[in-house]
Amino acid sequence: MKELLWLIPAWPLAGALILILGGHRMSRTLATLVGAGSVGLSALITLLIGFAFLSAPEPFDQHLWTWMAIGNFQPSFAFHLDALSMIFLFVITFVGFLIHIYSSEFMAGDEGFARFFAYLNLFVCSMLILVLADNLLLLYLGWEGVGLCSYLLIGFWYQEEKNGYAARKAFIVTRVGDTAMAIGLFILFQTFGTLHIQSLLQQAPQAWSVGDQTALLVGFLLLGGAVGKSAQLPLQTWLPDAMAGPSPVSALIHAATMVTAGVYLIARTHVIFELAPQAQLAVGIVGAVTLLLAGFSALTQNDLKRVLAYSTISQIGYMFLALGVGAWSAAIFHFMIHAFFKALLFLGAGAIILVLHHEHDMFKMGGLRHKLPVIYGTFLIGAASLAAIPLVTGGFYSKDQILWLAWAGERGNVLLYLAALFGAFITSVYTFRMVFVTFFGAEHSHVSHPVGKAMLTPLVVLAVLSTLAGFLELPHTLGHVTIFSDFLSPVLPAVNVRPDAESMELLFQVIAAVVALSGVGLAYYLYVLKPDLPSKIKEEIPGLHHLWFVGWGFDALYDTLLVRPFVYIAKVNKHDVLDKFYTGLVTVAEFFHRALAYTQSGMMRWYVMGIVIGAILMLTIGLIL
């Protein structure tokens, strides 16, 4: 059964190729069939393989062909299946499949229907390659492939100039991170002579002691790649703009899968980070700072999707935080839950935006809970999960685990914990701000048409998943279920809890629950009970509000420091200053020509003079020597 592994990425690839080559001649139904069907088949195979894997959970390697062979360096097209990639496979194919189904209705009116599915299929394929790759070079292929698809899909509605800009921004910013990652690969290659992941993980502990300089460098460089892809500080700026793409894209790429590739990378290479504690700490710090900054920004956004975008950044911050404290499986757990509820939220938001004639501003929505009950219900479930409403949501379990381990884990840290806690508070504030503003209060706009089944079904399924999946892993205090971490344990080591902290787990859960609920309360107070208050607060602190609103001004900073100088230099030097040297030579040559031509005066006596001068010069030379 596991031999079918290669089919998982192959189906979407085939789908993409068919749609690219023949998509423009296909009917919508056929295109849907190809687009969604191929991912469906992948999901099916994933399921089959998943069962096979559960019964025999040893890693499985599949070698397709040798990509390039130079001496002992032989990166291949080869897949490595273990628990980690299994979980990613599952999330990618299933969430991907649901989103494809959703898209078949969402994109129904679009000219580029087939093109959309082609890109989406290509994305799924690349993402699958990314998580299945058995060497870093192939991983890099998937890594860049998803980047390309992200670019294509952000700029899907290419007639808008700003969409194109957002798309390019996303590509270029992530490429900055990729550059760091590539350098990391160079070092790994130089040190170990291979980029095969499992070999690297085996050899690294032998080659490096804990805290080794090279390991540290590699760790930081890989982190660089991860922050680019996962929109973490300082490369987070592209993600809010990436919302220019269609909502299913935001759901699949910019929430559920691609942006978590950084998490995958770090988890995959966790051995290196364990050898480089400072780098790992940096991961945690990046996560903590990002989750706070993005949370504050989310508080001030008016665009529904931008709220979700900042929230995504913030939630991935949590995952990084978890990685940073060595809570590997907690990070992956949160990834999975987040994939469900964030996809759900984006899809819900997309449905709302669609029926409101592409209205993004949530303050122009309002009161939608009556008009769109299913969407309201599912959105609320997703929001509750995001806000980590205790006990009933998946988000609570996954986030609580991170909070707890941030404090209690061996590498835990009070500051990180506090940041995470405060972040949780902000999260629930902005989440329910969004819910209340969108679904409560007076109606400001008009719903054009009802939402069809193809869009609602995925919402419901995701709502169920985002609730139930949480019960795969329950803390000691609440049933102590460890299915998820057990499953991952062959790949990712479990985190050790500080012995002195064990007893306080319940206390911390209560704190987390209170914080989450109080956030909801605050949101309720501000946006339902006293709807005028927020704008007053806004006027009180216009500077801070603006700072948050523009995402802490990173865009402006980069614009001034990097983009403008680059464009300026490019503009100034458009005609290539080095060419001036050669044109200068030409000018000099012409000057010589004119000067010499002047001596050819045509007058005989002048010529005689020339001969005489020549003779004199020559005799002088003769006499001197």
Partner: protein, 510 residues
């Protein structure tokens, strides 16, 4: 005999094409196409040819030698190994693309056009085959004249200026090489007692440090101008932009490669010591080219100039890789030569196709073409992605291998070169954006690619993808035979395996 026949038939084909014009104006292109197709097949059949035993060191498949000017020890010595074979395949492949793209573009003096084209290709083939330095120089110069005519007669508005510039730059640098060739001739003759221009005889000639360096600089001059390396690149944008499409394809796809080929075949093996001495500077120049070319490419509004500057940028990788002195980088360079030929050739073809339709090369007059020409847009996208080094396409393999190898030699420069990839992203995406995306503000009637144009571009796409996924098939052509002779012959044959002993240490990253 197959090697001299190759060149002779190309020359004869050129003359035939020229004279056939009088009978029917469409004959020349068919003749040109046929000649190239035949040779593509012939070269393809050599793909898995056995190695000849006539030459030792390296894996030489075919070999031909006849005395030519015995007084000087000049012989008509041609030999083909994997590297040459790859280059020749590229030559004929792109040559066919160039013929096909000129099918309708060239309307006047058709016969003379194809005459020149075949003669350029003959010169290029000669460069890739010559194993006698006199002969090499002979071909090196011979390919310039027809190229000059191609630019000067069928080029765009500013063609005369561009043609002069191209000719004078390459000629000037070529003469410096001639001096070095002669210097080497006498140095070798004085030590070996036998005056000859034969490449194999020259390998391993002991040179004093000073002499070696000066001679190497002479060779280098020709190759880095051709490559081109900043700051000797300024002929290139003009020549590429003003040449007719086929001319640009040949220039970018093939002529630049002769520079890279020269570095690999001659500079490194003949002057190992001097190469090591100058390596940091040369790698630095390569990186400078990568970044400088990218910045300039970003600023251009003329699509052909833009693509031309991307060539400057991409060829920087060649310098970086060649002088990193390890097999990984060297294979990356070989891949870069091939993939850059294909991807940049394709971009020029697209530029030509667009120019044929809208009669401008200014990207500010373009935009929003996608709905009208989705197929062309897809092609443009693929090659823009190739240009920015997207994995899965050939250019990625080339660049990553080059960088992996270069890292072993110099960390700082490799980091800077890697940064160049970001800049490459910027200009590549700009191409796509400015031409195909955005709002259609200019109203052109813009038919999508015709069957003939698809016939050109689809094989190029297939090739670039194939190279991206299965580069091994190509790279093993430049593998050294497993049981190569002594270390000395390995060092000296084709530069692909370079002695490790000179600079092996200093691996610690800071």
């Amino acid at each position: 005999m197959i090697l001299p026949a190759l060149i002779i038939f190309l020359l004869a084909g050129g003359i035939l094409a020229w004279s056939a014009e009088k009978i029917n104006a469409s004959y020349p292109k068919w003749i040109a196409l046929a000649v190239l197709a035949i040779y593509l097949v012939v070269m393809g059949s050599l793909w898995s040819a056995e190695n000849t035993t006539a030459l030792t060191g390296g894996s030489w498949k075919v070999h031909f030698m006849k005395p030519w000017i015995p007084q000087f020890g000049v012989s008509f010595h041609l030999a083909l190994d994997g590297l040459s074979l790859l280059m020749l395949l590229l030559t004929f492949f792109l040559g066919m693309a160039a013929v096909l793209i000129s099918w309708k573009e060239i309307q006047n003096r058709v016969g003379f056009f194809y005459f020149n084209m075949l003669w350029v290709l003959a010169g290029i083939s000669g460069v890739f085959l010559a194993m006698d330095l006199f002969l090499f120089y002979f071909f090196w110069e011979m390919m310039l004249i027809p190229m000059y005519f191609l630019i000067g007669i069928w080029g765009h508005e500013n063609r005369r200026y561009a043609a002069y510039k191209f000719f004078i730059f390459t000629q000037a640098s070529g003469l410096l090489m001639l001096l070095a060739v002669l210097g080497m001739y006498f140095v070798h003759g004085a030590t070996a007692g036998e005056y000859t221009f034969d490449y194999f005889a020259w390998l391993g000639t002991p040179l004093s440090t000073q002499t070696g360096r000066w001679l190497m600089l002479g060779f280098l001059a020709a190759f880095i101008v051709k490559l081109p390396v900043v700051p000797f690149h300024s002929w290139l944008p003009d020549a590429h932009a003003e040449a007719p499409t086929a001319g640009s394809v040949i220039l970018a796809g093939l002529l630049l490669k002769t520079g890279a080929y020269g570095l690999i075949r001659f500079v490194v093996p003949l002057f190992p010591e001097a190469s090591h001495y100058f390596a940091p500077v040369l790698m630095g120049l390569g990186v400078l080219g990568i970044l400088y070319g990218a910045i300039l490419a970003f600023a251009q509004t003329d699509i052909k100039r833009l693509v031309a500057y991307t060539s400057v940028s991409h060829m920087g990788f060649v310098m970086l890789g060649v002088f990193a002195f390890n097999e990984v980088a060297m294979k990356g360079v070989v891949m870069q030569m091939i993939t850059h030929g294909i991807s940049t050739g394709a971009l020029f073809i697209l530029a030509g196709v667009l120019y044929e339709r809208i009669h401008t090369r200014d990207i500010n007059h373009m935009g929003g073409f996608w709905p009208q020409v989705p197929f062309m847009g897809t092609m443009g996208l693929v090659f823009a992605m190739a240009s920015l080094g997207l994995p899965g396409l050939g250019n990625f393999v080339a660049e990553i291998l080059t960088l992996l190898g270069a890292w072993q030699a110099n960390h700082t420069l490799t980091i800077l070169a890697t940064v160049g990839l970001v800049a490459a992203t910027a200009y590549s995406l700009r191409i796509v954006q400015k031409i195909f995306l955005g709002k259609p503000e200019h109203h052109y009637t813009l038919p999508d690619l015709s069957g003939r144009e698809k016939l050109i571009l689809v094989p190029l796409v297939v090739a670039i993808v194939w190279l991206g996924l299965f580069p091994q098939a190509v790279m093993q052509q430049v593998d050294q035979p497993a049981k190569a002779g002594t270390a000395q012959t390995q060092v000296t044959t084709s530069g692909l395996l370079v002695n490790q002993h000179v600079k092996g240490g200093e691996h610690d990253p800071k």
